[in-house]
Amino acid sequence: MSTAAGQAGTPAERGARDDVLVRARGLQVHFPVSSKGLRRRRTGAVRAVDGVDLDIRRGETLGLVGESGCGKSTLGNALLRLVEPTAGRVEFDGTDVTALSAKALRALRRRAVMVFQDPYASLDPRTTVGQTVAEPLQVHSLHRGTEARAARVAELLELVGLDPSVASRYPHEFSGGQRQRVGIARALAGEPDFVVCDEAIASLDVSVQAQVLNLLRDLQQRLGLTYLFVSHDLAAVRHVSDRIAVMYLGRVVEVGDAADVSARPQHPYAQALLSAVPLPDPAAERRRERIVLSGDVPSATRVPSGCRFRTRCPRAFSPCPDVDPALQEVEPAHTAACHLHGVVGVPVAAGEHTGA
């Protein structure tokens, strides 16, 4: 598991400053595909997450970008075991999440939480926002007693910039931005360490997105949170992240410091992705040269052999169809899985993704 996720150095060095909160190794989520008809036979699998190594350091924001269907949301869910991984392991603060019992897993849900995309769908329409925010407190028996609990709910609502008196209202009375604040308050109720923001601003209006991004960062600084910020919005990811991981077809293809990845993307896919982001600046738009990729993302049931990007890659060459490239260091703390970089032809070791 040499150059896993951006963090260079010998194992000893890493052990010395082991500031990793969440560690994924060979993580795999395959969804079975069954044939139609009376006899449902398993005919294949959607390889949503297909061998991901990722380290998320304590207190950082790791941005996870990629296009729809690349498996970024599934990865976020699998880290919290909201989706069951089919192989590999996830360590949270040293404990193996994939091996936890149902009871231990519920306890983990206090410390590792998620903020969901659609604030209109993620709140129960028949529950007041106060009850929604209080739910983690009840589930984990925190702040026992009606008084203490109400006080804590008020505190949480204030923390996310809402007036505590709204606790007795129902979600439909709120705007999208306000609902997302409620969703964040619920996530923070149990004083978590790790928050997965799964497209948390995607459904919000532009001016409200900025409010929520500012709030998320403010909360991170005040509460020392660690974020995995999953989004297709590269500008937002660039803004909030310390490091960025780029995913393509179930695999992390590039990881590095946010500034490095956005300024000098190394993987041809990351380069194309970044070049396609429209910039809110007409002069820059006229100068910009887009790398327009041909074709569509292949189906996750039929992942190409070798490098999975080779079918659309403008720079594919001889080793690409045969060798699945491993993440290798391109520059300090910046890795990419491409034969153009590092030692040509270093494959992903066969044994690595069976759970090291």
Partner: protein
């Protein structure tokens, strides 16, 4: 500049709701010249989508639409349903956010394309219609266009479907293309393909395009002119360069300031975004003065609270005069960004 394909004047849309009379669009005027792209930008609830649905007669009957919208000289708002349908299929092409709203899930792509062509007598027979349909799909960059004719919408990916919708919209060689959040649901790499495609087709056919979107990045890339909507009103318009480089309305300034930048100097997360506080006013309860007043960080003039500022030309700046371009740069505000305070026009 040649005769505009579309001239919208004082468009207003009102609707009765349980919470009162909703004033969704309040006096919108603009025109689109052949080959020109006018972007209408706004957040949800700004009335941008309703304003184009009103043009095409796609609103519920109880919506009250006033003003005029002349397409090649004829007012769309007073047309009968039959004429309007003819215009929708022939002179005006439409592309919406969700391609499945425009495609019939139980008919093949080929059937849907050829039916339109035959209905509007663009072709002489079925065989020719099929040829033409395949050509259209090839034009929009669909791989294996002939094969695609016999497939159903669900067999295609989202980007492919949106291309098919664009092909359908372009089948009648429209003089005007209306794209309502047409690339919002697509991935950026696919969006880039679609934007290139529309630009190319627009160049070839001199199509006028109304591009409705909330994405300022897309606007910067495609638009010649920009119209910023807020609370059903146009708060600023002008060329894309004027509006993006010298935004005059506090809302436009706020919107641009609230955007995270991809190529931002310094370490990620160092800059606080300038968010606009609060939320847009509901259309049933618009403020009496400037629609942006409740959220405005400037409030440059006491009239803002009580009086609706008209769209007035933005004052000339050092070196560059507002008159240097054929398109005026106007903003509906009493506040002059150039001078920091004071009045505009009047």
């Amino acid at each position: 500049m040649s005769e505009p394909v579309l001239v919208v004047e004082d468009l207003r849309v009102q609707l009765d709701t349980p919470r009162g009379n909703a004033r969704i669009v309040n006096g919108l005027s603009y025109s689109v010249a052949p080959g020109e792209t006018v972007a209408v930008v706004g957040e949800s609830g700004s009335g941008k989508s309703v304003s184009v649905m009103a043009l095409l007669g796609l609103l519920p009957k109880r919506a009250r639409v006033t003003g005029s919208a002349r397409f090649r000289g004829r007012d769309l708002l007073t047309m009968r349903e039959r004429e309007l349908r003819a215009v929708r299929g022939d002179g005006v092409g439409m592309v919406f956010q969700d391609p499945m709203t425009s495609l019939n899930p139980v008919l093949t792509i080929g059937r849907q394309l050829t039916e339109g062509l035959l209905a509007h007598r663009k072709v002489s027979g079925k065989r020719e219609a099929r040829e033409r349909a395949a050509q259209l799909l090839a034009d929009v960059g669909l791989p294996d266009p002939r094969g695609a004719l016999d497939r159903f919408p669900h067999e295609l990916s989202g980007g492919m479907r949106q291309r098919v919708v664009i092909a359908t919209a372009l089948a009648g060689d429209p003089a005007l293309l209306i794209a309502d959040e047409a690339t919002t649901a697509l991935d950026v790499t696919v969006q880039a393909q679609i934007l290139d495609l529309v630009a190319r087709l627009q160049d070839e056919h001199r199509t006028g395009v109304v591009w409705i979107t909330h994405d300022l990045g897309v606007v910067a890339g495609v638009a010649d002119r920009v119209l910023v909507m807020y609370g059903g009103r146009c708060v600023e318009d002008g060329t894309v360069d004027d509006v993006f480089e010298r935004p005059a309305h506090p809302y436009t300034q706020g919107l641009l300031g609230s955007l995270p930048q991809l190529h931002d100097g310094g370490a990620g997360g160092s800059r606080e975004l300038v968010a606009i506080g609060g939320t847009p006013p509901p259309p049933t309860d618009l403020p009496p003065g400037c629609v942006f007043w409740p959220r405005c960080p400037v409030r440059g003039d006491e009239r803002c609270a009580t009086e609706q500022p008209p769209l007035t030309p933005v004052g000339p700046r050092d070196g560059a005069g507002a008159g240097s371009s054929a398109v005026p740069h106007r903003a509906a505000t009493f506040y002059d960004a150039a001078r920091g305070a004071g009045e505009v026009g009047s």
